[in-house]
Subunit: 218 residues, 2 copies
């Protein structure tokens, strides 16, 4: 299966690239600038060489990555995520598109969730890409710890979608990643409750001086 | 310290009554009907007799409970919470009032968070009780497991307030309860991100056939 990480050159993209490639998925790193995608790929392959040879990673433009992949994950900073999705509309038609997007901003000393009019980032993506199969996941994964292949964790990933088949595909991918457990959280409209956990985690990390927090339901 | 559980005759009130009384707090169960509060108290005392003698629990009207207590916890179903707070306005003046309230409803097969206009239940309580010291906590505690004194758990309780001193009092109480860890989550406006975890937990429990889920940040 081919998985594209659109805008996958930083943040949560790095951890997903490494871990998905290790599992045998064909990973395509997408970027607005092909050179950036290619050089990131070389970096990821170098990191993986110590762990496992023969991983498949390729750097492409976001458009080519989206067109070639079966599943695309929008690992794009939220400020650019909606316009990027808009520009990739045709390439993503009929495809599974995963939204880990969390719109948030600092207000009066605390981080606040600031969803778009659709109710959540995932629903906004569904509005922008009406012919794609939208799944919401990965919002609460702390990027820095996730891309450290020696890190140990037990995190739960709530997964939301109105498309049960697409949801199952994404849950299966998540459950193959060591330390992650996918949990069916229901329809895409539930995504707002998942997305808003991320600014809460940021507030808790800052106030309690704890790093790399994610969530576990127990 | 005297702690009132207003409407504390059911749900999360039972677990709090038992556990706080065991810790040596003077617990007052408040109810609209004194007889109900008194008979619940007798039930709680009977349960506690097997564990520890000499616990202090009393049943009162909500008004008397609120007036006598240092800290009042609004363990009231959300549909009645705001009108009850309104009716206890004078008795709660200057006091610490804890909101575990989560407004939610089922929409299209999933539970949704439906906050009041103030942004969250805790902020609505702050609007109704401008002269009380509002703290948001306990939203994600599963009532049935929490009132089982043999149950084992490790749950995190995010605590929000604009009143740092009141927040500290509540965090100290929480940290004395075995299996709970209080985490400073920031200002009262962060409460909307905590409250919305509860309907998410309900959705996850139903869809994945898991019972008594709470949350842990790790």
């Amino acid at each position: 299966m081919k998985i594209a990480l659109l805008g996958g050159t930083g943040d949560i993209g790095a951890g997903l690239a490494l871990r998905l490639a290790l599992l045998g998925y064909e990973v395509i790193i997408g970027s607005r600038k092909i050179e950036k995608a290619t050089s990131k790929c070389e970096e990821y392959i170098k990191t993986l060489e110590n762990v496992k040879r023969g991983c498949t990673l390729a750097g492409k433009s976001n458009e080519d990555a989206a067109r070639e992949a079966d599943v695309s994950i929008l690992t794009i900073p939220w400020e650019h995520a909606f316009s990027t999705a808009e520009s990739l509309k045709e390439s993503l038609e009929g495809k599974i598109v995963v939204s880990p997007i969390v719109p948030m901003e600092k207000k009066g000393g605390c981080f606040q969730y600031c969803p778009p009019e659709a109710g959540s980032a995932a629903e906004e993506i569904a509005r922008i890409l009406p012919n794609s199969r939208i799944v919401s996941a990965f919002q609460t994964v702390p990027a820095a710890k996730f891309c450290n292949l020696d890190a140990e964790f037990e995190w739960d990933i709530p997964v939301c979608s109105d498309d049960d088949e697409a949801k199952k595909v994404v849950m299966d991918i998540i459950n193959r990643i060591d330390g992650l457990r996918a949990l069916d959280a229901g329809l895409l409209s539930v995504s707002r409750m998942v997305e808003s956990i991320t600014p809460l985690l940021v507030n808790i990390m800052i106030r309690n001086k704890i790093k790399h927090l994610s969530v576990r339901f127990c």
